[in-house]
Structures are given as structure tokens and as C-alpha cells.
């Protein structure tokens, strides 16, 4: 008897929530698929595609920070490693350096090296906590950017590499606005789905438990350090996926695109959107990129960073968990409203 009663009370709300979630994702998916049909090339690529791949790089930080409790400033560095490696192993304007491998060989190798780089960074950073993690990852980010600028044999120094482009599949030019947008959307969707899935896996749950209480995790038999390093490895893979698109979008990769400033921008995006849900980094990237593109219209080009800074301060002060946190609190209040009035 009791079992039957529990079944109905427990299952029907989760079913409703599941249907609601499917409907929400379906609508969002349709909107994202249909978006380029009613937008100009500028809005498709400069805003749309860039939001998707910068959001994916910021997602790699949200995964590490939101679920793992570790804030890293080296996420764009991992993306940069992938971008450089696809230039070194694939095709670029420097055939004397680039090995000219086919895309199906160059891309996996680039992703693998970026993931390995992130793993090693994790092995160093996961021994530290809080502010020291931020400092050590910032040091790695700056060191890598400076190394690339000074090394001409592999990284071609200050100029970096140009002439990078996505592979052409089935005669399709993936650099054209519409295909590039859909390519970015596919990569972003895969990264997002991957994070959402892994979050509820044994590893994902364990990572969140490490964030909440590492002492208890040790006491119930888990290796806390190994979980933290593995979280870095996964964040490296996510960032590397975004890094490939970044390289193809710019057509080039150079030390300037992975310097300290752009690295910190990734943190700004993740915090703007909120580290409480994997959709946050995409929202943050959208707001950031809109500000970056249109702040110039509001203020002279020398000072557009001021507008971004002020917007960042307002959002973070109003809502420490970003725009998604603000949204969650508003919808929760609305749904709790009637019951509290009763």
C-alpha cells in the first residue's frame, strides 16, 4: 500500500519536470536552429557563432568552478594550445613549420595535447586552494603566452599562425557564415550535453562532493586529488573544442589572443552568466560579446572596456551568482508566490 502511494507522489512531479525540460530544450533548440534564417551575417557569425564558442570555453570554467570549486584563469590557454596545435599539425600560412596533416589526424591530436596540457596544469593547481589556484593558473597562462611570443621554431613568435580554416566536408565551406554558425552550434551543443550528462554521473557527483566537503570524501574512500585533476582534464577538452572554433573564426592564432587580458575575459563571461548552471557561461558570453561590439557606439572606442566593467560590476553586485542566478531567484519567487499568500 505505502509503496503504491509513494510511487504516484514521487513519480508524477518528476515526469512533469521531465516533460517541461524536454519542451524547454526543444524550444531553445528550435530557436537556435532558426536564428540564422532571420539574421544578417554579422549577427550570425560575429555575435551568434562567437557566443557559442566563447561560451563553450567559459563553460569549461563553469564546470571546473561551479562543480569542482576550482577557479582557473588558464581556460583560454587550453583553448590556445588546441588552436596552436591544429596550426602546427595541420595547414597554415607557414608550411615550413606546419606539418600539413589531414584534419581528421590534426584535430584529435590537437585536442589530445590540449587535454594533456590541462591535466598537467591540474596536477600543479589541484594541490592548492582558492587564491593560490587562481595565481598558479594565471602564471601558467601568462607564461604560455610569453613562451609562444618568444619561440619561433614551433609557435612562430609574435606573428603566430594565419590561414587557419575548418576542414571542408562534402564540398561545404565551413568558413561561410551559415555553416560556421551550425558548426559552432553543434560543438556547443555537444559540450553542453556532455557537461549535463557527466554532472549526474558517479564522477560528476563525486566532484561536487569534493567541492562541498573534501574531508568527508577522503573519509568515505575517494581520492580527492585524482578527482580534481580529472576535472581539469575534462575542462581542458571542453576548452580545446572552443579553441578550435576560435582559431577558425579568426583564421589565425597569435600570442595576443591568449594573453592575460583575454584569459580574464573568460572568467568575466562565466561570472556574468553565473556559475550555477551550464547555460550561464553562454548567457555571459552573449552579454559580453554584445557589450564588446556595441559599447563602441555608446562611448569612444578607447573606453569601451569601461562600459563592460561597469555592466560587470552592476550585475555581480546585484546578483553574485550572475544572470542565471538572478533568473532562478525570480522564477522561484514567482512559483512560491501563491503558496506563501495562502
Amino acid at each position: 500500500m505505502t509503496i503504491a502511494i509513494q510511487d504516484t507522489t514521487v513519480r508524477s512531479p518528476t515526469n512533469l519536470a521531465l516533460h517541461g525540460r524536454i519542451a524547454k530544450y526543444g524550444l531553445l533548440g528550435l530557436a537556435l536552429l532558426a536564428y540564422p534564417l532571420m539574421a544578417s551575417d554579422f549577427w550570425i557569425v560575429q555575435i551568434g557563432a562567437q557566443t557559442l564558442f566563447m561560451g563553450t570555453i567559459a563553460l569549461s570554467l563553469m564546470w571546473l568552478g561551479g562543480y569542482g570549486g576550482m577557479v582557473s584563469l588558464a581556460q583560454l590557454t587550453f583553448a590556445g594550445v588546441a588552436a596552436y596545435m591544429v596550426a602546427v599539425f595541420g595547414v597554415s600560412n607557414r608550411p615550413d613549420i606546419s606539418l600539413g596533416w589531414e584534419w581528421w589526424a590534426a584535430i584529435p591530436v590537437a585536442l589530445l595535447i590540449a587535454t594533456a596540457f590541462a591535466t598537467i596544469t591540474g596536477m600543479l593547481a589541484a594541490r592548492t586552494e582558492g587564491i593560490y589556484t587562481i595565481m598558479i593558473t594565471l602564471a601558467i597562462a601568462v607564461a604560455f603566452s610569453l613562451f609562444c611570443r618568444q619561440n619561433y621554431a614551433i609557435f612562430n613568435g609574435f606573428a603566430g599562425f594565419a590561414g587557419l580554416k575548418p576542414p571542408s566536408l562534402f564540398g561545404l565551406n565551413l568558413r561561410a557564415p551559415l555553416p560556421f554558425y551550425y558548426l559552432s552550434l553543434a560543438f556547443a551543443a555537444a559540450a553542453y550535453a556532455g557537461v549535463v550528462y557527466v554532472t549526474r554521473s558517479t564522477f560528476g557527483l563525486a566532484l561536487q562532493a569534493v567541492r562541498d566537503n573534501p574531508r568527508r570524501m577522503r573519509a568515505i574512500g575517494f581520492n580527492v586529488y585524482a578527482h580534481r585533476v580529472a576535472a581539469y582534464a575534462m575542462s581542458g577538452l571542453l576548452a580545446a573544442v572552443g579553441g578550435l572554433l576560435l582559431a577558425w573564426f579568426n583564421g589565425r592564432i597569435s600570442p595576443g589572443s591568449i594573453a592575460a587580458g583575454p584569459c580574464i575575459n573568460v572568467l568575466v563571461m562565466a561570472v556574468l552568466g553565473g556559475m550555477v548552471h551550464p547555460v550561464g557561461p553562454y548567457v555571459g558570453a552573449l552579454v559580453f560579446i554584445l557589450l564588446q561590439n556595441f559599447a563602441i557606439d555608446l562611448i569612444d572606442p578607447e573606453r569601451f572596456n569601461l562600459v563592460i566593467g561597469v555592466a560587470f560590476l552592476i550585475i555581480v553586485l546585484a546578483s553574485p551568482d550572475g544572470l542565471v542566478g538572478l533568473w532562478q531567484r525570480m522564477t522561484r519567487r514567482r512559483s512560491e508566490g501563491p503558496s506563501s499568500q495562502r
Binding site: 514521487v10 558517479t202 564522477f203 570524501m217 573519509a219
Partner: protein, 259 residues
């Protein structure tokens, strides 16, 4: 050969044996030459005023702090040098005086992780289905600690009493053989204390435990034997009825409340 085997069987009838265990922090001797044993399935209460060394003794047994001196045997095996996770895999569990839970996760996920911690493939990237053995074990644990109805709620939404119950549930995961309870009744209401006593009494009889408890009523209801600690040493050992009426114990522990 025969003698060795007999010795082994004698040793393994003791769940826990401490011989000459001390723990020193600088000039402070927190645990001072403690020797006692607890047989398998026995339920023991450790009483003592604050600073008597009870929690430090737990920390030396679980390996959180290794003892400065002495040996610790667990079911006949010397575990003095083992790291904490190796002791856990041998069936030793503990709860904490201040709840150490995963506040951002639901009750069921807390229990699920405690079950997975002692098993294999702890870093699996697969989602466990609700029919996964560890998931089923977690649901059974939620039932055993009377938290079935809040199993899907995050720990941060639980009452203090419910968090204390979950703290016990975490220690029950994955075939424990012996549990150290560190003041499980701290901060509980009378009703919650009764629920705690029910949970402890319902434990399978092969699971022995040591309970540190300030509430004598709780301790004496669940314990078969009592050890009183004072200033890091074992002060007295006996049956609950004798300890309750012992004038010396009353003097140091109860502050003469009964006489």
C-alpha cells in the same frame, strides 16, 4: 602452528584492540596510554568531560591522526600504519561531531557516494540508473535512517536533526563492521533523540560500535558496556548500571548531579 591459529581466532573475536595508544600535540597529551578492546558486535559508550580525549581517540583509530605511540588492531589485523581509506575498506566507519555532508547534493546522492566510495570504478563517467545496486543500497539506507521522504532534497534544506541522521547513514554505507559515533545526539530535540535511539537499536547485531555521548540517557540505552575517560586516560570500565552509580565517576563526569 595450532597455537598460532588459536591465537588468531582469539584475536579476531575482538573487533578493535588498542594497546598503549597515545597521541601528543606539542606539550599536550590528548590521549595517554589507552588500552582496551571491544569484541565483535559489542556496543560501547565512551563517557568523559570535554577535553578527556574522546574525539582524539577516534581520530587515531580512523587514521585521521596517527597515534604517537601504541598499536591498533582491527579484527586481528594491525592497522596502525594504514591510511584512512584502507581502514574504511576494511569495514571501519565513523561519524563526525559536526556534520560533514555534501550540502549541495540531495540526500540520496550523499548516500550513493558513500556506497560507491568503498566499491570499484569510483570515477565512472556513466550515470547510475535507479536500478544500479549502489543506488538501491542508497535507497535502503535512506529508509534505515528514516529519511526516505526527503531523499531527493538537497542536504542544505534538511533540519539539523535530519542532517545528524544522514551523518549516521553515511557511516552505514557499504558493509560496515564497526562504527565510531561521535556525539550523534548533539543538538537534537527529545523527539529526535528517541528516533536516534531507535535507529541505533535497529542496527544489525553483527555491527559493533563505540558511541561518544554526553547525553547519558542516550548512551546508556544503546550501550552494553561503558568506558569512562578522564584527562586522556581510561578512568573506569564497567556495565552501564555500575557506572551510573559509581561515586568517583559521578564526581568527575556528572559533577555530583545525582548526589
Amino acid at each position: 602452528m595450532q597455537r598460532a591459529e588459536r591465537l588468531k581466532s582469539v584475536a579476531s573475536s575482538n573487533a578493535l584492540e588498542l594497546s598503549g595508544v597515545s597521541r601528543v600535540f606539542g606539550a599536550l597529551v590528548a590521549v595517554d596510554n589507552v588500552t582496551f578492546s571491544v569484541t565483535a558486535g559489542e556496543r560501547r559508550a565512551i563517557l568523559g568531560s570535554n577535553g578527556a580525549g574522546k574525539t582524539t581517540l577516534f581520530n587515531t583509530i580512523t587514521g585521521d591522526f596517527p597515534p604517537s605511540n601504541g598499536r591498533i588492531r582491527f579484527f586481528g589485523e594491525d592497522i596502525t600504519e594504514l591510511p584512512p581509506y584502507e581502514r574504511i575498506r576494511r569495514g571501519l566507519r565513523r561519524t563526525y561531531q559536526n556534520s560533514q555532508l555534501f550540502r549541495g547534493l540531495p540526500v540520496l546522492d550523499n548516500l550513493y557516494l558513500a556506497v560507491r566510495g568503498v566499491g570499484r570504478r569510483r570515477m565512472s563517467l556513466l550515470r547510475p540508473g535507479e536500478d544500479h545496486p549502489a543506488r538501491i543500497a542508497a535507497r535502503q539506507l535512506a529508509h534505515a535512517i528514516h529519511l526516505e521522504e526527503v531523499a531527493d532534497r538537497p542536504v542544505s534544506e534538511l533540519s539539523h536533526g535530519q542532517q545528524r541522521q544522514l551523518e549516521i547513514g553515511m557511516a552505514l554505507a557499504g558493509a560496515p563492521r564497526f562504527i565510531l559515533f561521535d556525539e550523534p545526539a548533539a543538538g537534537l530535540s527529545p523527539a529526535e533523540r528517541r528516533e536516534l535511539v531507535d535507529i541505533l537499536k535497529a542496527l544489525p547485531s553483527h555491527i559493533g560500535f563505540i558511541i561518544i555521548e554526553h547525553d547519558l540517557a542516550v548512551a546508556l540505552q544503546v550501550a552494553e558496556t561503558v568506558t569512562v575517560m578522564h584527562q586522556g586516560r581510561v578512568f573506569k570500565h564497567g556495565l552501564p548500571a555500575d557506572i551510573e552509580t559509581d561515586p568517583e565517576v559521578q564526581k568527575i563526569y556528572l559533577g555530583g548531579r545525582h548526589g
